[in-house]
Symmetry: C2
Subunit: 210 residues, 2 copies
């Protein structure tokens, strides 16, 4: 495996392979050729072979890919062969929505707590998971070995909250606040800006002749 030579573009396609392979597994499909996979996933067969070759290549000439094996291997590459303790910062609408996404749990992302500054929210539970006071954040992160935090605060609080968690050695931040969080070396971040996706949609809506 030549980890360091895998491009960002390939990495970003892996979750999509994972999703389609899961669907195939659910339909009890045992094996699939790159051509058949191409038809359902929308990448070209040659792109698929090239992508999967990055990881040693799981296909066999004349047989295609073993669906279960490929699903498992891609999951392993994505780090889905273990569990992660997570917290949500900001128990507003989006924080609550994310707390209710049980599919995150199914893939090993175990939500341990939510945090908020609103006294009315503190002590309430979502799916048996408690909302804690922000004052307890540092202690909770260290004690519960939290690796990933989903930030659902407003723009002003996002970076400050991230700093507090990085002081406690959090490893990954999934940020939904409308700001790009800056992280320290050794910490990874994904900034999700939903509204930017909506703007792209409105661009295409107005330029659909292309």
């Amino acid at each position: 495996m030549q980890k360091n030579r895998i491009s960002m573009a390939v990495i970003r396609r892996l979750p999509k392979y994972h999703r389609y392979l899961k669907e195939l597994l659910e339909k009890d499909v045992k094996r699939i050729s790159s051509k058949e996979l191409s038809e359902i996933i929308g990448f070209t067969a040659s792109q698929i072979r090239q992508d999967l070759n990055n990881f040693g290549g799981f296909g066999q000439q004349g047989y295609g890919y073993n669906v279960e094996e490929l699903f498992y291997e891609i999951g392993k590459i994505l780090g889905l062969n273990r569990t992660y303790n997570t917290v949500i910062i900001g128990a507003g609408n989006l924080g609550q929505a994310l707390a209710n996404y049980v599919s995150f749990e199914k893939f090993g992302f175990a939500l341990k707590g939510l945090f908020d500054i609103n006294p009315k929210m503190i002590g309430l539970k979502i799916r048996d998971i408690e909302i804690y006071d922000m004052d307890e954040l540092e202690e909770f992160i260290i004690k519960n070995n939290i690796e990933i935090a989903y930030i659902c605060t407003n723009r002003e609080s996002a970076q400050v909250t991230a700093e507090r968690m990085m002081d406690c050695n959090i490893k990954a931040i999934w940020n939904f606040a409308p700001v790009d969080i800056k992280v320290r070396e050794g910490v990874v971040v994904e900034n999700v800006h939903l509204i930017e996706n909506l703007f792209t949609l409105s661009y295409f809506l107005n330029n659909n002749e292309e």
Copy 2:
């Protein structure tokens, strides 16, 4: 303007320019050089000049960009100089969270109604916007000139719902269901798969030496 030659990559960067320019405007910054913009946005100055040249180029040698003008022009390119009537299909946790995103409204995406199949939800309101029965979907879309639908249903209902709305000439679908919606010619779609973003994060968490 040579619309047809603008690459997807450029289009997908425009919302980010728009967000940073908005912040500059809020800080009352009047003009900015590509170098300064580069420092805050993280793209290279040459990339910024190249990107913005696609749209005729708004900068002036030795002056830089007029922040307000550039913000306005990029907004116009993204289609933000008009309003869109929208609906949300599926008033569960995510649907409700999106309904509460007032920033969508501020940029012209006017939510006219939510739809659900759960009888307990129907008639309830979120921010004064009513949740309607799915049986009323077609009539509502036509009557209210709905252009964009946010799909927040489960996987099974997503495509079927999209078909019903395409029969009523909906123009754009913003899909959050864990499936890639297939659209007809003339309809645009953005499929948002939050969990795939989380998988990318866990990949980077495990491969952070790169």
